[in-house]
Structure formats: structure tokens, C-alpha cells
């Protein structure tokens, strides 16, 4: 597709369950990012991938959060044993290059996670 694609667009889950969120970046973009946006808040950085490796995962809130990227393309963000405070919109972005000169990020429309 032409843009960053995320799925699911909406996910409602029960506290304690595991969830997986998927991101399909723009073809050819080497850098991929996950951010989290809580209601009325700015974006909170979670993790940055360059290719399949993650040079910066300093924003992952706890060890319940993990992410991987395969084939330099699709990425999955996994949240284990979800808690109510995990409720947020999870945004994925990609860019042509990353590292020292991030440049323009292209964002997907996000996955809205609600933990009951």
C-alpha cells in the first residue's frame, strides 16, 4: 500500500490477556517507530527499529512490552498481561532513513487498545 498500515484499528481486551499489534511500513523505509498516545496527551516514544534491530527501545514501559521486526518490514508490538493503564492509541511510523537525521515520519492511523 501507499501508506503505513496498522491492524487491528480497534482492540478491546480483558485485563490480563495478551495482545499483538501489527504495523506494515511504507515499502523501502528502513526505519520504523512505535509511539503511544493516551487521551489528550502527546506522543510517547516506545521503540525505534533500523532494519531488524532496535537501537533504541528505551521507551518500552515494562518487560510486558516487546516488539520485533522481521525482513526489514513488518513489525509486531506485543503487550503481555495487559493492564488498564495500557489503554491508548498505539501509533506506528516509518521513515526513509533513521538514526542521526530522522527526517519526516509517516504515521499510520493507529491501533486503539481498550483494556477492560
Amino acid at each position: 500500500g501507499a501508506g503505513v498500515s496498522q491492524s487491528p484499528s480497534n482492540k478491546v481486551t480483558e485485563k490480563g490477556k495478551d495482545v499483538e499489534l501489527r504495523c506494515d511500513p511504507i515499502s523501502g523505509h528502513t526505519a520504523l517507530y512505535w509511539y503511544r498516545q493516551s487521551l489528550g496527551q502527546g506522543l510517547e516514544f516506545l521503540i525505534y527499529f533500523q532494519g531488524n534491530s532496535a537501537p533504541d527501545k528505551s521507551g518500552l514501559p515494562s518487560d510486558r512490552f516487546s516488539a520485533e521486526r522481521t525482513g526489514g518490514s513488518v513489525s509486531t508490538l506485543t503487550i503481555q498481561r495487559t493492564q488498564q493503564e495500557d489503554s491508548a492509541v498505539y501509533l506506528c511510523a516509518s521513515s526513509l532513513r533513521g538514526g542521526a537525521n530522522t527526517g519526516e515520519l509517516f504515521f499510520g492511523e493507529g491501533s486503539r487498545l481498550t483494556v477492560l
Binding site: 489528550g40 501509533l91 530522522t102 493507529g110
Partner: protein, 111 residues
């Protein structure tokens, strides 16, 4: 720690009423400052990147400027379609990929 503060939190304008949004930042060294626009239910959309004090960029009714401590987004003669949340973000010189975002300014332009 890097900090990005945007003001005001919300702004209501009449169509044609020009105004400015502020983004003040604290970083050890600035690699870049970014402005994004976000519509409800959508991901942010890139507007501008500024790299050094004194730099200015323009796009239609929007103009972004940068000093050593803050950036301004000027909206000239806004139209209702300029209604959105405007987000500012910085990349610190020690950062490899991470952007630090402000909380945003929600702008509503009424006809």
C-alpha cells in the same frame, strides 16, 4: 532530560484571524525540530523540519520559525480546514531515531 512544552493548550480562532502557536524546548543539543498536524482519529501528518536558529519554512497559510529555545507556528488568515491539533517534536543530538513530542495545541477555526 529533554522537554517540549506547547502553548496554548487550545486556541479558538475566527476565520481570517491570524495567530501563533509556541513550542519551547530544552535539549542538550538540537538535531531537528518538527511540526506535525493531527486530525481526530488520524495519525500525525508531517508539516516542517527546522534545523538551526533563524531558519524559517512556509507552506500555504503556515509558517514555522526557530530560535535557540523555541519555535513558533504562525497561522495566517486561517480557514476552517486548518482546524486540527498541532504537535511539535524535537530530536536531541544524542538521539538515534527518538523524537520527543509536546502535548500539542488544539486549534479550532470557526467560519
Amino acid at each position: 532530560e529533554d522537554q517540549v512544552t506547547q502553548s496554548p493548550e487550545a486556541l479558538r480562532l475566527q476565520e481570517g484571524e491570524s495567530s501563533s502557536l509556541n513550542c519551547s524546548y530544552t535539549v542538550s543539543g538540537l538535531r531537528g525540530l518538527f511540526w506535525y498536524r493531527q486530525d481526530p482519529g488520524k495519525g500525525p501528518e508531517f508539516l516542517f523540519t527546522l534545523y538551526s536558529a533563524g531558519e524559517e519554512k512556509e507552506k500555504e497559510r503556515l509558517k514555522a520559525t526557530l530560535t535557540k529555545k523555541e519555535s513558533f507556528l504562525h497561522i495566517t488568515a486561517p480557514k476552517p480546514e486548518d482546524s486540527a491539533t498541532y504537535l511539535c517534536a524535537v530530536q536531541d543530538e544524542g538521539s538515534w531515531g527518538k523524537l520527543q513530542f509536546g502535548a500539542g495545541t488544539q486549534v479550532v477555526v470557526t467560519p
